[in-house]
Symmetry: C2
Subunit: 410 residues, 2 copies
């Protein structure tokens, strides 16, 4: 269960939505944190519900049925709804300078579903999957639902450690193993908020091409760029077939639409489109995808993204200011140029897992850094804060509470 | 790609929806059949687009946003949208006489997605999966996307062959193997349209319980009962945990909603709710599920099902009459009491695969029986006709053309 579910439950009637406690440790801790009144939960990595374009989506869904009729309610097409694929292809061309051919893009049920599908289609039991560390912890859960060996590749402020990646691949080859994929979030990373530098992007792409490793690029945050354009995607700079780039409307429109896309090589796109689930169930949710198509065709996408960017930029700035003003000395947090998150390194000797209960007692919560390391090694000196959910005044109060908790732990 | 996609493409502008030819043999043949003007494609197993409740769904989607606000556009809950789960639980109790507890039901993205998820969660690479034969051919494709050994279990007019099932399980045990699941469509079967007899249902449930094999019951057609109530589901008569029953709104509302449900044991439901995809992506498409919730809460479900039933019953009757009137002697086709399909056994010596091109030349298409046998053994003397897509007059003309093709092949 997503952390995000918890606070929504506390705010919008858990009883009505039958939110039930779930059993894994971090879920329970989430639930307690979220259901405790007066806790600012900066662990929640999701959009502010107050910013979701309810009216525009209501209009778009009516438009979808008026415009596409029974198409909008049918099985959908393996090629995905043409109007949405078209709009996406031309937007990608305009924003990224590379036009995916019609057979280089597939509409998906969001990044999580696309990742799940890629793992089914592109890995064999026992395969090695490489995972950037730190990385999006819930993507790791999707990988763990399969019999794969996960190996963490360290990342730094400039991006993935290319030398470590190269050495590891060499060591695996000497053992007769070849990783089948590399999962990473190179742009406005979750949890660090940082972007890989250009040389790192090019080096990782070159290495993956040479070693025939599929790069699965989670590009969920591209639209949320607060200080100029996002860097080019790995897909943009890679030769055909090296990268499967996963895009989504969850951050740029609304998570509940569960609509995303993949840009990748023709062969992989063909496999995604013709796999059993697509063959039987049709495309991903046709009603939702045609609603998103109508929304985008009618020009609603850009202004809504601009609203998100403007609001989240102000919240990011407010949180960074508040941290600088209130936290005790010794912490570090690079300012993210986009996305949802700030990655805070604590003063020496302070553990984020030890800090969490103290912080929650003070009325603020976060995700301890260790959760973003698929091998559990590292991250205990860091924590992830999301700045998207609360307005500036509440973010400042959250920082005051975090500072108080840190003082109590020192 | 679904057969259904093809004819929609031909009718509703293939170009606009970017329908592309796909590469596997039967898809190409589908495409040719469907794109050839004047062919009645009784191979297409999907609802008549003209019967889909466009206005009611348009109202429901507006209602969903008005009623649930940001809930309808959020990540959703691992428990699924409470209003829809509640409505389903009480409808199931009312119709089937067994009330699933709140933790015995999960909302899914339709049966295909649910099956895909169950296979991921409930099988290990190399496991044996038992498949009723004949059975829904596209479900088999979902199973084939995994490294499983599929074994066909013969079915007859009364349902699955329990003795054959029992002997096979014994033989597998002697080889040290235990099947992990049994996939079947016991009610208004696809492709035969028939229902398992009550003794068969009870015997298969008892055997599966004794041998600890999960029965995956595809219950897609339950609502479409034309001659009295559908027989009890295997889930209804089984002890907790033996059966995972997959339900769907694709046939009773619209395929494009991609909303379904699972009723199963608590442990399995908990695993479905907390697996990686659900944890990361949230519930299945929240916007679509909340739209279906509003649609059902507002009383639109029953009258629409009644419209489908009334229309499809008349079409079934018209097709059966037309077959009896026009087909040359020697064929057999039991009248289905529900669902979408009639299973026609051809006169001795006539092969459905040999008949197909001749029939398509005459302007009628169908699915050859062999496609519904996961081991490719059997079915060549039979074919599947869907009676849902065309009005009675066109069904009669289709039967006339089929009869002409049969005469040309004899």
């Amino acid at each position: 269960m997503k952390r995000g579910m918890c606070i929504r439950a506390s705010r919008f009637s858990a009883r009505r939505l039958h939110l039930r406690p779930v059993t894994t440790h971090h879920h329970l801790s989430d639930l307690h944190a979220a259901l405790r009144p007066g806790v600012f939960d900066l662990g929640l990595g999701h959009p502010d519900p107050a910013l979701l374009p309810l009216d525009a989506i209501q209009r778009a869904s009516a438009q979808a049925i008026a415009r596409y009729g029974a198409h909008a309610l049918g099985y959908g097409y393996a090629t995905g709804p043409g109007p949405l694929a078209d709009w996406l292809r031309h937007r990608i061309a305009q924003r990224e300078g590379r036009l995916p051919d019609a057979d280089e893009i597939a509409i998906t049920g969001g990044i999580s579903h696309a990742l799940d599908q890629l793992v089914t289609l592109c890995t064999q039991p026992g395969d090695v999957a490489l995972v950037e560390s730190p990385t999006y912890h819930l993507a790791v859960r999707i990988l763990r639902d399969r019999p794969l060996k996960l190996i963490a590749i360290p990342g730094g402020p400039d991006g993935l450690d290319v030398d470590a990646l190269s050495e590891l691949i060499g060591a695996l080859k000497r053992q007769g193993e070849r990783p089948s994929l590399l999962y990473c979030v190179p742009t406005f990373n979750n949890p660090t908020g940082l972007c890989w530098r250009d040389e790192v992007r090019r080096a990782v792409v070159a290495l993956a091409e040479r070693e025939r490793i599929l790069i699965v690029e989670d590009d969920a945050y591209r639209e949320l760029a607060y200080d100029g354009d996002a860097p080019p995607s790995l897909w943009r700079i890679a030769p055909m077939g090296v990268v499967a780039r996963l895009g989504s409307f969850s951050k740029s429109l609304a998570p509940g639409m569960r609509v995303g896309w993949i840009t990748a090589g023709r062969d992989l796109i063909a496999r995604v489109r013709t796999c059993g689930v697509m063959d039987s169930g049709g495309g991903p949710n046709q009603f939702a995808t045609m609603t998103v198509a109508a929304y985008c065709e009618d020009g609603a996408f850009e202004p809504q993204v601009a609203r998100f960017v403007e609001t989240y930029r102000a919240r990011r700035d407010a949180l960074m200011r508040a941290l600088a003003t209130h936290l005790p000395a010794g912490w570090q947090a690079p300012t993210p140029a986009g996305g949802f998150f700030v990655w805070v390194r604590l003063p020496a000797g302070l553990s984020s897992e030890a800090l969490l209960p103290v912080a929650e007692a003070e009325g603020v919560s976060f995700v301890p850094g260790r959760r973003f390391f698929c091998d559990g090694r590292g991250g205990n000196e860091a924590l992830r804060l999301a700045f998207t959910l609360y307005p500036p005044a509440q973010l400042e109060e959250a920082a005051v509470r975090l500072a108080q908790a840190m003082r109590r732990c020192c």
